[in-house]
Point group: C2
Chain length 218, copies 2
């Protein structure tokens, strides 16, 4: 039996070690979960004992294969619920995270498989993140940050890095949504701000925005 708290730690470790390859350190987990480093240490011992993680004192932690499978299962549930909330229950894309954080822990194979089918097997969540299938497989779309895009090229918006309400509301206000086409017009060397054309309208966005918007070439 795995507890809700263990699940949250496993998911955090997975996210911090991109795709579960890098070693994750204690403070990063504490920061991510808004808890104290000493609590993290305790939990890492437990996760190691239960076979979900490889942990070496003072050296950091890695998920085992089993740990990764669990993480991906939780992420699958989280993102499917997010799709449900937006598509069926009229949530905005900045309102779903909190609720999905709880719904992701509901344990029922049938529930999640039926939900997946009901939503027509979506491949991405409302923020453009990929949804693993039943077997844990998912393909990360080839995407780059707006800040790394090349001048003159045409792109399509496919995801966000920052999922805070502040950022998502900014995008809403500027009619930037997933699927929106963007042409990179100018990069200002002084402050790295970027002028783009969206929906036949020209706007300038800050470096901060450019570093949190994912694009794909089109």
């Amino acid at each position: 039996m795995i507890t809700l708290t263990e699940e949250n730690y496993i998911k955090a470790i997975y996210h911090l070690g991109k795709q579960g390859v890098e070693t994750v350190n204690t403070n990063a987990i504490a920061e991510a979960l808004q808890t104290k480093a000493s609590s993290v240490t305790d939990m890492l011992k437990k996760l190691a004992e239960k076979g979900y993680a490889d942990y070496i004192k003072y050296q950091g932690v890695n998920l085992t294969l089993e740990g990764k499978k669990i993480a991906i299962g939780i992420i699958r549930k989280h993102r499917l619920w997010e799709v449900f909330l937006v598509e069926k229950l009229n949530f905005k894309w900045d309102e779903v995270h909190q609720v999905a954080e709880d719904l992701e822990h509901i344990k029922s194979e049938k529930l999640i498989d039926q939900l997946d089918a009901y939503l027509k097997h979506p491949t991405h969540d409302p923020h453009g993140d990929p949804i693993p299938d039943r077997d844990g497989n998912f393909k990360q779309i080839e995407k780059i940050l707006l800040s790394q895009a090349t001048l003159g090229k045409k792109y399509q918006c496919v995801g966000v890095k920052d999922t805070s309400s502040a950022f998502l509301n900014y995008l809403d206000a500027n009619t930037i949504a997933l699927g929106t086409e963007i042409v990179l017009l100018h990069k200002e060397p002084f402050d790295q701000s970027i002028k783009i054309k969206i929906n036949s309208r020209e706007i300038t966005v800050s470096q901060n925005v450019a570093k949190n918007l994912f694009l794909k070439t089109v």
Copy 2:
């Protein structure tokens, strides 16, 4: 802040004291929640301290107005989720209880209100139990048990008392569903078994069945 465990106790107390009028005793709660009487005593003290229940040592417990409001809120969520599972996710009526038991604890006003709207404000769950509205109001339909029905009269099946898979599967096998019309043909004095006509078919059901099927006159 109210914990998941406290919510389960409050709901159990509510259900045991029909509509929250009768005094509920420790052992009944322990039985309902599959726990030990000593654990219940501890929790009753806490619920009383938090203002959710009135509790007198050795005398039993009652929910306060606030406690009842909480109980009804949880029941509303439980039953709405049950409707969702059956109507949208193809669950059978004997499969929903376990999952709803967890979903009922998800805390989000918007979630439950939107779910309610999405389901078109259902008034009854898949077992015929009434769903409280936002304000906690619900009208108990006038219903009697098949065992108390009168000979020759025509009824409609409107609910079940026992919600076990065994019983629900029995009803499925005999094509008895909510809405099904039933005519009472004969009551056998020997074993209280009852002969009924359903869907132009005559069958005999045991007293046990008759005591768990709710009907309304039609």
